[in-house]
């Protein structure tokens, strides 16, 4: 640098400098974009306004865990199961978080026409939605699992004996699995809905309304068919109309407690819930990829 400056005899202008150093490969660029997007899920690197919803969501989600962990320390029992946590709260917070942050990830770039700048760089056309999906999945995972870990740590701090700790751990692991399932499916659904339009308000509306309406539809159907304890076919399949009840049905199918969650015991319709979850995930990811193929060509 200094050599060039003296050679050119320029004092103030350093002149143009070439970059000959190492460049990141495609995988590392995707990782950088994922990290950048993950941070923006929580409003990090953005203004104060962008942080309000994520912080409120985390606080709301963790509050029952703190309260219960504190109660356990005072000698009370653990109220919330690791697998369902507080079912209605979890659904509500996930909907709010998705409706606010999925548009943050995808609608902003669509709205401001930033995508040509990404697609004129080494990334391939599927890399951009992939990075966004990984970021939102990780963010949801954090939102869903952190309260479980708080609850777990609070509980094992109070229980006596190795077998009790082992019991808690054995209960936690399926809970973390359910959280992962939620994050993987809901991130895909949230992103594909949010990417339909660049208008942020519409995008938020589409995510919120689709999640809320389908959820209430399923809840109503379950109630109409006799509630969570009903065992007739109508009640067993009523949960297939919203992603949250599908996820809960899969949980019960895989051996979860049928009385604590959202749906009636699916019984032998369990595999149907599994299939519905897989189809929903595949359709959402396929839709997301197709959406960005179209954008990259236009």
């Amino acid at each position: 640098m200094s050599e060039t400056t003296t050679a050119a005899g320029v004092i103030h202008d350093l002149g143009y400098r070439r970059y000959e150093g190492p460049r990141l490969g495609r995988a590392q660029i995707v990782r950088a974009l994922t990290w950048h997007s993950f941070r923006s899920c929580f409003g990090i690197g953005r203004g104060v306004k962008a942080k309000i919803v994520p912080i409120l969501a985390i606080v709301a989600m963790c509050l029952p865990a703190f309260v219960n962990a504190f109660a356990v320390a005072r000698g009370n029992a653990r109220l919330f199961g690791y697998d369902v946590y507080v079912p209605s709260l979890r659904v509500a917070v996930v909907i709010i978080f998705l409706a606010a942050q999925a548009p943050e990830l995808v609608s902003r770039d669509l709205r401001n026409h930033v995508l040509p700048l990404y697609f004129s760089r080494p990334l391939r056309r599927d890399d951009y939605p992939l990075a966004k999906y990984l970021a939102l999945t990780a963010a949801l995972l954090l939102l869903i699992e952190v309260p479980l870990l708080i609850l777990y740590v609070g509980t094992i701090a109070s229980v006596k004996g190795g077998s009790a700790v082992w019991g808690q751990t054995r209960a936690l692991i399926p809970g973390l699995g359910v959280g992962l399932m939620w994050a993987v499916l809901m991130a895909a659904i949230g992103l594909v809905l949010a990417s339909l339009t660049g208008r942020r308000a519409y995008s938020t509306g589409i995510v919120a309304i689709s999640c809320v309406l389908t959820f209430f539809l399923s809840l109503l159907l379950i109630q109409a068919e006799g509630g969570q304890t009903a065992t007739d076919t109508g009640a067993r399949v009523a949960g297939l109309f919203s992603p949250f009840t599908i996820l809960d049905g899969v949980r019960v199918w895989l051996g979860g407690n049928p009385t604590t969650g959202l749906v009636a015991n699916p019984g032998h319709f369990g595999p149907l819930y599994g299939l519905a979850a897989v189809i929903l995930l595949a359709a959402s990811l396929g839709g997301l990829a197709a959406r960005y193929r179209k954008v990259s060509r236009s």
Partner: protein, 335 residues
């Protein structure tokens, strides 16, 4: 000791020679080369129709009316869409098979708005530097440098939403520059700028081409503008190559003299005709356009006006817009 140290000084010298060889090789290669490049969109829209063109290093203008196929060509060069048939190479790499490699060597400035209003220019360009494959700290350094090169200093810490159109265009240029490209594709870089802004942007582009050693392709529909900074021009129309030539041969056909007199327009037109100049009246019949052959054209016009004793109020050299150039070319069969 001295004998062992003896080979040391030859090290840097060797390196210098090697660098020189590499640079010569780069200069000899065409930056863009297409042959029979065709792109059809179903059902029957032909955006590019057998385009064969070779773009040499330096600053090249890509001119064509709206819809001539400029944007399609740029997308094929970026490897974003495959051609229906034909070949395209950028910096020696095939666009279809090595799109990713090409995109690390290319900087692209889109025609339209592409900036988010709610981040600072520094953050935005740094992020895009990372997306170009720069490590984190390098991206920060180069973002600051690129923004400085395009003339944004302290303003770069402000939100892009607060910028003027001219500053936004500069940010768009900076993001194209941040990854240290070997070739810049600039799509209508003076779009939406006022005359002073246009001049500043053109000077900046000319400086990047001349001092930074980066080849540049500037797509524009305003020939008069980009001919000021280009070494070569490529004109396309309806997806086909119209002309590819050096700037001088282009300006010969494109330069005109605009003559405006307060009265006696028809008289002057006839007088100029008699003196062997084909003067055409502009649509509103207020200005006569005379093809500019050389310095003597000025003399002929001056004498004609003086002899007729007409009140001359304007005599200026003008450039055709590219559409007019095309008309001239077709009539004189330059294609």
């Amino acid at each position: 000791m001295p004998p062992t140290e003896a080979p040391e000084p030859s090290g840097p010298a060797q390196a210098v020679i090697e660098t020189a060889v590499v640079e010569t090789a780069v200069i000899e290669t065409a930056v863009i080369e297409t042959s029979g490049l065709t792109k059809r969109y179903p059902p029957n829209v032909t955006a590019l129709d057998g385009l064969t063109v070779r773009v040499a290093p330096g600053v090249t203008g890509l001119v064509g009316a709206n819809g001539a196929g400029k944007s399609t060509l740029i997308k094929i060069l970026l490897g974003l869409i495959p051609p229906t048939s034909g070949q395209a190479q950028v910096l020696g790499h095939d666009c279809q098979s090595s799109g990713e490699k090409i995109r690390t060597l290319l900087g692209y400035m889109p025609e339209h708005d592409c900036l988010p209003p709610d981040v600072t220019a520094t953050e935005f360009v740094t992020h895009l530097g990372r997306m170009s494959g720069l490590p984190s700290t390098v991206a920060k350094e180069r973002a600051a440098e690129s923004l400085r090169h395009v003339g944004l200093h302290e303003e770069r810490y402000r939100l892009i939403g607060t910028y003027s159109t001219g500053m936004k265009q500069r940010v768009k240029l900076a993001q194209a520059l941040v990854g240290d490209p070997r070739l810049l594709l600039l799509d209508e870089p003076t779009n939406g700028l006022d005359p002073a802004g246009r001049t500043a942007m053109l000077e900046l582009i000319a400086r990047i081409g001349a001092e930074f050693g980066i080849s540049i392709v500037v797509a524009s529909h305003l020939l008069g503008e980009i001919e000021r900074i280009c070494d070569h021009l490529v004109a396309i129309e309806a997806g086909r190559l119209l002309r590819a030539d050096t700037i001088t041969s282009f300006t010969q056909v494109s330069q005109v003299l605009a003559v405006e007199v307060e009265e006696g327009m028809v008289q002057l037109q006839q007088e100029l005709q008699a003196r062997g100049l084909v003067a055409t009246a502009q649509r509103d019949h207020r200005v006569l356009l005379v093809p500019l052959g050389g310095d003597d054209t000025y003399d002929v016009v001056r004498d004609a006006v003086a002899d007729l004793a007409l009140p001359l109020c304007r005599l200026e050299q003008r450039r055709h817009q590219v559409e007019e150039l095309f008309r001239d070319d077709e009539s004189s069969e330059h294609v």
